[in-house]
Amino acid sequence: MTFNSYSFIFIFLPVFLAGVWVIQSFYPENGFKEKLMKIWLIAMSAFFFVGYGQFSVLIFGSSILGNFLFSFRISRRLKKCNGNTDDWLIRLYKISAIILNVILLCFFKYFGTGVMPVAISFYTFSQIMYVADLGKEDSFDALDYLSYITFFPKILQGPIADHKSIKEGLEKLPSGRINSDDISAGIMLFTLGLFKKVILAQVLGEAVDFGYAGLAGMTALDAVILAVSYSFQLYFDFSGYCDMAEGICRMLGMELQMNFDAPYTSGNIAEFWDRWHISLTKFFTRYIYIPLGGSRKGVVRTYLNILIVFFISGIWHGTGLTFIVWGMMHGVLMVLTRICGKEKGSGRKNPLKVLLTFMYVTAAWVFFRAPSLSDAMTLLCKIVNPDAWSGLHISIKFAECFMVDEIWYVFKVTPIPNWNKSNYICMWIILCVSALLVFWGKTAKKIAAGSANVITSEDDKNKMKKWAVSVAYGILFVWCVLSLGGVSTFLYVNF
């Protein structure tokens, strides 16, 4: 089951919320209420995940069982040695658990049959976080652990939230009350995420697939549009999913860790990684960069640590040289940024820096998406080759991939279809809307918060606005629902 499916939106989510509401409203306040809520969450999460097939369930189940046993042993030992996390046996357990988690992940990424268990990269990192932090900030509780690891809003693509943040939200759930403000804010955020995923990422994805399938025939301008389209697609796809996950949590009155904060408005690469896949950056910083010595062991070691982190990030994202090149491109620029002392962005954005950062990130995404290094080089060579720029030209077949039927049918009642370049209009509309959303700097969360302010405002003058907001979200939601059939799977689902 995915968030962008009829069964999730119209059956699973309402049933899940109704169950939470029933427990909150009708179950007496006693010690078991919290447990009952966690059991409900675990049961629904299991139901959510089970649709991914026996193989994925088996691997996930094995991972849970293994980490559960390690966590149990660690907690027993912690009690014996009065919470001393430096105890040698506890360290041994933790190191063993982490190594086994890494082996499991590496096995399927590099030595498996080519079929990746769904979400393994995400839940493995969550398992590592849980075991590593056990005893430091958290104590072991079976239901607590299971509700954290299986929590369905984050299971497929993160965010790789730490146990503490999820636990805090879940602990408030039994005593809280689902309320209309949270539900409405959640609906808004979910709808915006759905729009990014099923409308924008989908149409961009079709063009990107077409482009990468026929790189040889691309013109220079095609190549630029292709590379930029993939940057947009990846952002809308992944952040759209995270917005939906945040929207679901918001409906429960919970805050899920923000994973994207307008990353393409970054003025340098360090800022980009503070805004892109934030939970992953935090994971790497906390569990790899800092244990390696971080910036405490001299300048050269710091740079080496940065390169190691981005190398690991590359191989975490995928197999093959292309992902290593992608990771190292980021690592090298990160080191150069440090050398130049421009790590932290100043308050005001320099548009030129934003543009240059976006261009560099987009060039790196070419390696991320291309099937091979030579394909990536083919695309980049087309862009940098001055000969290829003679006669600015966009292939009509490529432009037609951006065709959104509903926009085209609106055009049909205008004179636009008779224009010479009418087939390019959809493309430019999609690219401009995407660019606007990406560079505007307003995340879906901020847009939803703005809308929520309008509908909860006490000012009677806003009555029309309130109606307009409700109708706009309603139409956007229906548009997405009507587009659910045949949409692509999430790009990050196999990571």
Binding site: Y6, A185, I187, K412, S470, V471, V481
Partner: protein
């Protein structure tokens, strides 16, 4: 659900109202027009676009007015049902699936012969025209070519939302025909996109890729078990259970290049045995009319009749329809069929493949 503010509550009410209103309107429109014929027969006068075999065949099989049907792969898409009316007086419906495996034929025949459907309540099935592709008889018995949109095949009303709330259905199958005011001619439905210009030897030879040669000859008996299983499970039940229906089963006339593949892959005897076995099984039934078109020498050896190594010109479809009507190329018993196969062997043996491949195209 407790309320925090009136604004949130009002938003949810309005949002739900807007969503329900639009979805109900959309559902009503789809049910009324019903472009996949899932709920009712076509509306008189609406210019339906029919171009989606997977989505529209089940509805057509259930609800259209017909007394005979064409079943099979892309080898059957260029038949004109008007020809069947003209030559045999039959009201024929085309229910082809490009690349169909025997299970695809089984699936659609199950609907065709389902007595509970409106189509069967109105008409009995007088005839089935089934194109039998021998290579597909080695597929798994339950293997289908493409994943089916099950919401159009099952009886579950819940999953119908995938049909009712579907942008493509709305735009491509309701709005588009309204705008262009021109529906599909059902006589030519699913016809291939190749125009007359594509049927020539240059086009065929440019697209043809010979398989890798196999040195060891295939065991002549190897293909028989799977062939038997497929015929027993996916075809014979319909023939047995419907003795009043005439089954016109034919082996489509692939070009000589198909036989080059058979030779190159070294399974001539196995393939011949497969044909013989299938024919023998089918000829056991009085309601089967078996046609062998593959040894029409002047057709199969002239690549100007083809657009690729198997797909023939629509003229051949017309000719085959005439044969169904007058019995030309019909094989009555296994001895006759063996003679036909021997003739096929002779054509393959005598054909000058070297000359064909030595020329520039």
């Amino acid at each position: 659900m407790s309320l925090k503010s009136k604004g949130g509550k009002n938003f949810i009410r309005r949002f739900i109202c807007v969503v329900l209103l639009i979805l109900i309107m959309v559902s009503a429109l789809v049910i009324y027009i019903d472009p996949f014929f899932h709920y009712h027969a076509p509306l008189p006068g609406f210019p339906y676009i029919v171009d989606n075999q997977l989505s529209q065949n089940p509805g057509m099989a259930e609800r259209m007015d017909y007394d005979s049907c064409i079943i099979g792969s892309s080898m059957t898409v260029n038949f004109h049902t008007d020809d069947f009316n003209e030559l045999m007086g039959l009201n024929t419906l085309k229910l082809s699936y490009s690349g169909a495996y025997p299970r695809d034929d089984y699936n659609i025949l199950s609907i065709v012969f389902d007595e509970k459907t409106p189509a069967r309540k109105n008409n009995k099935v007088k005839a089935v025209f089934l194109g039998l592709d021998i290579p597909t008889l080695t597929a798994e018995v339950d293997e289908i070519k493409y994943e089916l949109p099950m919401y159009l095949y099952d009886k579950n009303p819940i999953n119908d939302v995938k049909y009712l709330w579907n942008k493509d259905v709305l735009l491509e199958y309701i709005l588009k025909p309204i705008i262009q005011k021109k529906g599909t001619n059902l006589s030519e439905v699913y016809a291939s996109w190749w125009t007359e210009d594509y049927y020539n030897i240059q086009y065929v030879m440019h697209g043809y890729e010979a398989p890798e040669p196999v040195s060891e000859e295939m065991d002549p008996e190897l293909l028989l078990p799977k062939t038997k299983e497929n015929i027993d499970v996916n075809i014979l039940p319909f023939i047995r259970d419907n003795p009043d229906t005439d089954f016109y089963i034919f082996f489509p006339p692939y070009s000589i290049l198909y036989w080059n593949n058979v030779l190159t892959e070294n399974h001539m005897e196995a393939t011949m045995n497969q044909y013989k076995f299938a024919a023998n099984e089918l000829l056991q039934y009085d309601n089967v009319h078996l046609f062998y078109f593959q040894n029409m020498e002047e057709v199969v050896t002239d690549l100007n009749n083809y657009a690729d190594y198997t797909h023939y010109n629509p003229r051949i479809n017309r000719y085959m329809t005439e044969c169904f009507a007058d019995g030309t190329h019909e094989v009555k018993n296994i001895e006759e069929f063996e003679n036909e196969l021997n003739e096929m062997r002779r054509i393959v043996e005598e054909f000058d493949f070297e000359a064909l491949f030595s020329e520039e195209y």
